[in-house]
Structures are given as structure tokens and as C-alpha cells.
Symmetry: C2
Subunit: 161 residues, 2 copies
DNA sequence: GAATCACTACTCGGATAGGGTGTGTCCGAGTATACATGG
DNA sequence: CCATGTATACTCGGACACACCCTATCCGAGTAGTGATTC
């Protein structure tokens, strides 16, 4: 089970957008250059974030992306869902209903216990992601390395000038 | 983020093996026929379970698979890990270290907050899966449809005869 | 009649192709800016 | 000097190839059983 690489890119870009927020819109080229990522593909991820209402896009010169909501109003679950899609990782295809064995009475009503257990686990994962916002991650990062946010903002400011 | 289809097959097959346990080894053909699955591919999944020590394989005529441990000693996490592999879904590639910005002091020591948050969420998922065993799922299935386990065992008994 | 041996049939095991999704790239639609031009 | 129209450059947005991993399949290695053969 692998999560797409775009999730990591999107999360880092969201943090950078948050730190460089009031410096105007940031182009995808700048965001990509900061981490040496392919700009066109990162653009694709930002489009997904835009469709999800996490960032807003400004076309034309002086355009770019900026955070649509405050960092404390964007959860990690929002970002992951925007990139990876809303469907569950474990997909129950109801194979118990298939096969030559006679129809088991009661099967078609109650969901199979396997599916229920898997969904429970995934719900715990989602709950954990939904409980943590961009602001939480930002403050934790700042606590670990106090100088970084200022540097990030400075880099994006000088870069855009 | 999609989980392989083999996980569902492996879990159902483990349950069937547990219910038909003392009826001797069950061939992969029987297990596959019960759910109308491609036998060769299900065999691949069972090989993975065998390598993980969840089932034991018996070659030759009268051979097949049987559960290596008691159902209460096999967690869902064991099965998922055996099929999907031990690596995490979210892979931190340390993109923060890449790019033209000067080396941020302290970055190389503390893991980035994003990775930490994602790992925390995934740990919750793993913990939930590790807390539930095959025996738990079996008893829950039996509670939902009391007749099923007996039928399953009967079907495998008649099929092998 | 009993033991031995070769043979057969059946099973797992790993090596081998095909398809779908993620990954990476490209060019076009749209807009704010800058400049030349006319009043 | 100021307003206006136009050309331009820059941005996002979606459409287009490539690659990798999951899916699916096949054939070979190994073994228990079976029957014939011999003592």
C-alpha cells in the first residue's frame, strides 16, 4: 500500500504557502524550485488542492497560489483527501457473495466482519489526520528549528522580487 | 491510496482455513473455488502468507495449506504486512533537504514535522489492526450469521472428499 | 503373503506476460502589465 | 499631460506520453500414494 508522492509535495507546499502568505501569491515555479521538484507535476497537485478549496489560484502575471483558508482551518486529512481521493484504501468487493456455495442467509444484510474491522482501522487513521491542522505542524516545525519559518518567508520574498 | 486486492482474498482465505482447520490441509484450488477467484493468483498470496509464517504449506498429493498458528495468535496487521509489505504508506523523501536554499541548521537532526504527523496517524491505523485477531473476526462473523461457519466447514469437508 | 521399487498423479513454488494507475511533460486559454499613440 | 487601445509576457489549466507495480498466468520441482514385481 503506497501513498502517492504528491501528498508529500502538497503538504510541504501548503506549509511554504502559509509561511509566505502575506507576501502575495506564489507561483508554482517558485514552490517547485524550493524543493527541486518538477514544476508541471507540482502544478497538477496544486490544481487538486484548488479544486478541494484548500488553495486559491490567481491567473496571469503576478499570479500564483495562496492558501484559501487559515492554516488552523486546514487539516492533514483535507490535503490527503484532495490528492489521493476520497475512497477507502481497503475496498470490499464482497467476494463472500461469489462462488458455488449456496446463498448464506443473513450475509447480504450484515456487512462482512473483515470489511468492518478494516474500516475501523482506517477510521482511526483518518481521525488522527483530521485532528491535526497545518497550524499544528507549523508550530511543531518552528519549535524544532526556530529559524526556518523566517528563512522560508525571506527566501520567497527575495525570490519574487 | 489503494490497498491490493490480495489482502481481501488472504483474509477471507485465512478465515476459511481456520474454520476448516481440522479437516486436513486445504488446496488452493478449493479456496479459490469457494469465492470464484483465480487459483494461481491466490496461490501467490498464500505463498506470501507462508513466507510470513502465517500458514504452512504441504506439498504433494493430500497437500495444501493450513493455518500455522491459532486464530487468536494471528492479527490482521500480520496478514496485511505479509501481503502489502512492511514499508509505510507515506514515504518521506526528505525533499526539504533538496533545493537551492542554504542548509537549514537543525533540519538534518529532527525529522520533519510532516513526516512525524503522518507516521503518528499510520501508527494509529497499525495499532488498530494489530489489536484485532482472526479469532475476533471469526466470532463477530459467527455472531452476525450463526450458520455460516458450520456451512463453510461442511463445504470444505465435502469438497475434499 | 509381505516387502521393495518404479510410476503416476497431484500439489506448491517461482519465473513469465499484460493492464491500470501514478508519474512526468507539454502546449493552449486567460489576464495584468507596459508601452505607444492620440486627444 | 492624460486617457485609451494594443501588444506582450507571464500565469494557471487541462490534454498528452511514459513507467512502474499490481494483476493474472504458466510450467517445473517435489512428494504421497498406488500398483506391479520379486523374494
Amino acid at each position: 500500500m503506497r501513498m502517492g508522492e504528491g501528498v508529500e509535495w502538497a503538504l510541504h507546499s501548503c506549509l511554504n504557502l502559509a509561511w509566505a502568505q502575506d507576501g502575495g501569491a506564489v507561483t508554482v515555479a517558485r514552490l517547485a524550485a524550493y524543493h527541486d521538484l518538477p514544476a508541471a507535476y507540482l502544478n497538477k497537485q496544486l490544481q487538486a488542492l484548488s479544486r478541494a478549496g484548500i488553495v486559491t489560484s490567481v491567473p496571469g502575471p503576478r499570479g500564483g497560489f495562496r492558501l484559501a483558508r487559515r492554516p488552523e482551518d486546514v487539516t492533514l486529512m483535507d490535503v490527503v483527501t484532495a490528492i489521493e481521493g476520497p475512497e477507502q484504501a481497503f475496498r470490499c468487493t464482497e467476494i463472500r457473495q461469489q462462488g458455488p456455495h449456496g446463498e448464506m442467509p443473513g450475509n447480504s444484510r450484515r456487512p462482512c466482519a473483515i470489511s468492518a474491522a478494516m474500516r475501523r482501522a482506517e477510521l482511526a487513521w483518518r481521525r488522527e489526520l483530521a485532528a491535526r491542522t497545518l497550524a499544528d505542524v507549523m508550530s511543531e516545525a518552528e519549535r524544532g528549528a526556530p529559524g526556518v519559518p523566517g528563512r522560508v518567508r525571506g527566501w520567497f520574498a527575495t525570490a519574487s522580487a
